[in-house]
């Protein structure tokens, strides 16, 4: 899509014979990409080891968990909603999956005598549970008309509570080797990155090439237009939030695989990171505007930033300040694409 859009931008302007203007147009449209490239160049100059293959994979792996969540969030925000529950859903689906993915000895605590289960069981459990919770979010807000903010804020607390109850507050560890293998590598490529890639492709197709995707844009862009065109808004909203919850489940699997243990307090605050990644990538809270590549770039901006600040040895407190500033500046630069009159 990004390619097509570039072509479009080129074409639209090319027809007017302004090649230079076309370049400016692209720069504006993909402002955030240039911000990212700038950051990468800046960091590599100061710390050449930033660009080692290993570190690049590190950065990608680091962006995988909240990047996957940002994909689901892109659908939600594009439909003019918000999902504050994804962090807690990650924790809840994560502890459930982990409890089903413990090695034989440890499993007994939760499901005595069950023995070791094949990997597919915890994976499916996380995905389905995530989708179910998401569907409840979507159903709540579409059938009762309460703001998405409230429905998902409630779910944020509720899911966290259940995660605590399920585990008694302690982390669940001793995962099977098959499970922690998910945090490892396939050849040189980290498996979290592969899973992330697959999710990017699926979400991209979903948003750009299915009727569901078109409905997401229409619901966010102009819900009345969607209604009068015969779009089943309620059903689609449920699906949107279910997809977002499902991706939180996928993120939980990656999390469990990487960390080897899931804590009921895990991923606290990740909802804000996921929303930030999505927003940095240009998805608008006003609805109707959102792209998958934007979410991916937004997640990368955050992980490159964190990785870079660590490499540069910036003091922990200053890291927070600089991170906050750079997020704001990045979006300001990106904003210029929408700059019109005056």
């Amino acid at each position: 899509m990004s390619k097509e859009s570039v072509e479009n931008a080129v074409k639209q302007n090319g027809e007017n014979g302004h090649a230079k203007q076309a370049a400016i147009e692209i720069l504006k449209k993909y402002g955030i990409v240039f911000v990212l490239i700038l950051m990468i160049i800046g960091i590599s100059v100061l710390r050449p080891n930033f660009l080692t293959p290993n570190n690049i994979f590190n950065v990608l792996t680091q962006s995988a968990i909240f990047g996957i969540m940002a994909l689901g969030m892109t659908l939600v925000i594009t439909s003019k909603g918000i999902d504050l529950s994804v962090g807690s859903v990650l924790a809840l689906t994560g502890v459930v999956a982990a409890s089903l993915g413990q090695s034989a000895a440890a499993t007994s605590k939760f499901f005595p005598g069950l023995g070791e289960l094949p990997l597919i069981v915890p994976v499916l459990a996380a995905i389905l549970l995530g989708a179910l919770i998401g569907a409840i979010n979507g159903g709540l807000l579409s059938y009762t008309g309460i703001p998405a903010f409230i429905a998902t804020l409630g779910m944020m607390t509720i899911a966290r509570g259940f995660a605590l109850i399920y585990t008694g507050g302690s982390p669940i560890s001793s995962l099977t080797p098959a499970f922690t293998r998910l945090g490892g590598r396939l050849g040189v490529v980290p498996i979290p990155v592969i899973i992330y890639g697959i999710m990017i492709v699926i979400t991209w197709i979903l948003l750009n090439n299915t009727q569901f995707g078109k409905n997401v844009y229409a619901i966010g862009g102009n819900i009345k237009a969607a209604e009068v065109s015969g779009v089943n808004v309620k059903k689609n909203l449920i699906l949107i939030y279910a997809y977002c919850g499902m991706l939180a489940g996928v993120a939980a699997i990656v999390f469990a695989g990487r960390v080897g243990s899931v804590h009921p307090g895990a991923a606290t605050g990740y909802e804000l990171t996921a929303i930030a990644a999505t927003t940095i990538g240009g998805t608008s809270h006003a609805g109707g505007i959102g792209t998958v590549w934007g979410a991916v770039v937004g997640a990368l901006v955050l992980s490159v930033l964190r990785n870079g600040l660590t490499l540069l040895g910036v003091h922990a407190y200053w890291q927070q300040i600089i991170e906050g500033m750079i997020i704001v500046v990045a979006v300001i630069i990106d904003m210029r694409k929408n700059a019109r009159k005056k």
Partner: protein, 504 residues
Amino acid sequence: MTEQPHVLEMKNIIKNFPGVQALKNAELSVEAGEIHALMGENGAGKSTLMKCLIGIHPPTSGEIYFDGKLIENYSTADALNMGISMIHQELNPVEHRPIMENIWLGREPKNRLGLVDHKKMYEMSKEVLELIDLKEDPRTEMRHLTVAKMQMIEIAKAISYNAKLIIMDEPTSALTNKEVEQLFSIMRKLKENGKSIIYISHKLDEIFAITDKVTVLRDGQYIATEKTADLTVERMIKLMVGRDITEMFPKVACEIGDVKLEVKNLSNGKHFKNVSFQVRKGEILGVAGLVGAGRTEVIEAIFGIRSADGEIYIDGERVSIHSAEDAINNKMALLTEDRRMNGIFPMLNILQNMTISNMKSYVKKNKLVDHKRMKTDAHRFIETLSVKTPGIHQKIENLSGGNQQKVLVARWLLTEPDILFLDEPTRGIDVGAKAEIHKLITSLAGQGKTIVMISSELPEVMGMSDRIMVMHEGRVTGIIENRKDLTQEEIMRYATGAVEEKLA
């Protein structure tokens, strides 16, 4: 005409909203292959009746027969499937999506994998756009289109459903003659193919030009159905309003004073170039032109909400206006063209909508606002402009389009401006109210106010103005004295750029 079976019958339709009975006993019967006008004042319930039909608001009670079958409890999607489509009065663009996705929303063509087939969608859209003779790339995002083009897209969309019955709720309110003609030829084609059309418009000439029958609603009540050919303008108005309205364009000559506003060489590079004109006290300057001529942009620039180079003089003194606030301080007012986008505050009530621009004058010495005076003023204007509403605390969103427009007119009159810019001031306003607004404009001119009125309705421009400025592609092609013998053709020659007056 031979007797045709009724494709649609709506009987005893009642629709209640909280605090408002929008429809009390409305009726409508439409035959196959008929263009049927639905007429009534603003707030008569036309749109509501149509929304009942298309499944947006289920009626509180009453029966709807479509194709001879009783239909009940259906959604909009069901209605579309049954063969009813609708052009809505309020435009519903999904702004950041391409034209083609707007047209095919909810019924995208798919390939064998079940994925959306963009290529096919593109082709199909091209065909549809050809039908309405619109040369736009189907991949252009809706937000880049002018209101008129968006309206044409809505028309194209409604047609593309290939429905048996097409509802057109004020499709021409944003169109100029050229597009209206185009729409009419499409409608005739549809009629030939046996399709039925319900046509709503406040422009009487259109009703006579295109419709076969007219059904009139008043206050949500069915009044009459008659053959258009049997009707006269006077009778139709009487059916709608319940009384006679004599003067359509009550322009009375009033004393014209000194130059109030002078604009010199206004340009903004993109939309207009070297626009210069003068308007005097007590004068009405009409501004004509085709859609996209840049008229809106010019007055937005004068009003400070769009940047431009050039000079503006009021009473001979150079002024610098960089925001609407500056403009209002210079006693200017602007009634905008796009009511929904930059006119109304949908969720706010009438009181808030009406008083916002005049808020400064309600601030008392203790810095608090004087609610009592605000309410008195609001009530006064609801009365003078006969806004149809249960009260000043009604959300403006719940008013009919015409009544929303009246509230906006009131907003600006409250600021007691010296210079009024009116961009399509009577768009979507019924004949009765139109006459009232025209009377108001004239009386304002009579009080020595300076008025600049953009209108795409040539009869209105010619009926109301002292002079007419015509624009073409961002340039002023002529400023004409309004004479008795001025013809529409003459204005159109300037508007199409066929002639250009040498301006001093």
